[in-house]
Amino acid sequence: MKLNKIQIEILYDFTRQHFVEHYDLQTELVDHLANGIEAQWRDNPQCSFDKALQTEFNKFGVHGFADIIQKKHDSLIKSYLKIVLKFIREWFRLPKFFLTLSLIGLFYWSFTSDFSKIFIIIDFSLICLFFAFGVFYNVYILKRRKSRGKKIFVLHDIILRGELFAVIIPLFPLSISFFEIDNPSSLSSFSVLLLATFSTFIYLLGFVSIIIIPKKAEELLKETYPEYKFEKSM
């Protein structure tokens, strides 16, 4: 005896009720539960769907799907970092490398000018505001997709939440305290160059993770998830 479409939908609901909000993980768990239920029916055809489902779910242990959800997220964070690094590397290759050098030059100039203190405050404040706006916009898109009942994949969630943002922002005050930017004239040229390079790197990290990658999310999801093409047909 096989599960019908309605029972499959009930299994999707079941995973959602147990806090599996991403379609890729839901799909895999639904197939697993369905296989288990069908195996029980082969041995005991009288067993009800609900009872068989509960028996299968109990096999996941006291934490249910929680460990699987967390570890899936952790695994994909590593994949996400690889994607970010791949995009960052482009900025250290020609022709984009010229832009990177120009950015380092711009930071260097602003840090060594007479108005360096003001420039530093403006630079960092604008970058923070720009990225914060980017993250809020991406999270808004994510929530809108969820509220419209669209399927969300784990990697899509990670990309749109810009999880690197939480790492990027503390780097600014850290760099300020490390390089004693409140007194820039005391810095050697080498320190300023280092600071300019560091600032450029932080900027690129934010730009790539908050602006570029979310824009290319669709493309990246197609590469990562073979089930993405089934999304509209299911």
């Binding site: 599960l3 768990l29 197939d31 994909l76």
Partner: protein
């Protein structure tokens, strides 16, 4: 792994070996195959299997393929080229480990 901590460290190698032998498999199939091969002695729990599969996939050792089966989608895992090489390495490591353990647990004493 329900029954022994000894198996825990070998879960990834078991998965890689099964995929090497069977080409492509899905999660439930892996749990059943292990149970069958170990005559019910070894039980891979769902909570351990899927994180291991997802980790191997993220490391680039596994590829996935989706197939529509009986009103639902099924995710099949198969080895990548890198996964095939890694399987050979991990199996060699495991065999060496077993040999060493045998020597430690059951040493052959001899008088020189």
């Amino acid at each position: 792994m329900g029954n022994s901590k000894l198996y825990k460290g070998s879960l990834n190698t078991i998965i890689l070996k099964l995929l090497d032998e069977n080409g492509k498999m899905y999660g439930y199939e892996i749990t059943q195959r292990v149970k069958e091969l170990s005559k019910g002695d070894l039980n891979i729990t769902e909570g351990a299997l899927y994180p291991a599969l997802h980790k191997l996939e993220a490391e680039g050792l596994l590829n996935v393929e989706m197939i529509k089966v009986d009103n639902r989608l099924r995710k099949y895992y198969k080895l990548t080229e890198q996964g095939e090489k890694e399987t050979v390495n991990r199996l060699a490591e495991l065999e060496e480990f077993i040999r060493n353990m045998q020597n430690l647990v059951n040493p052959k004493w001899s008088i020189k």
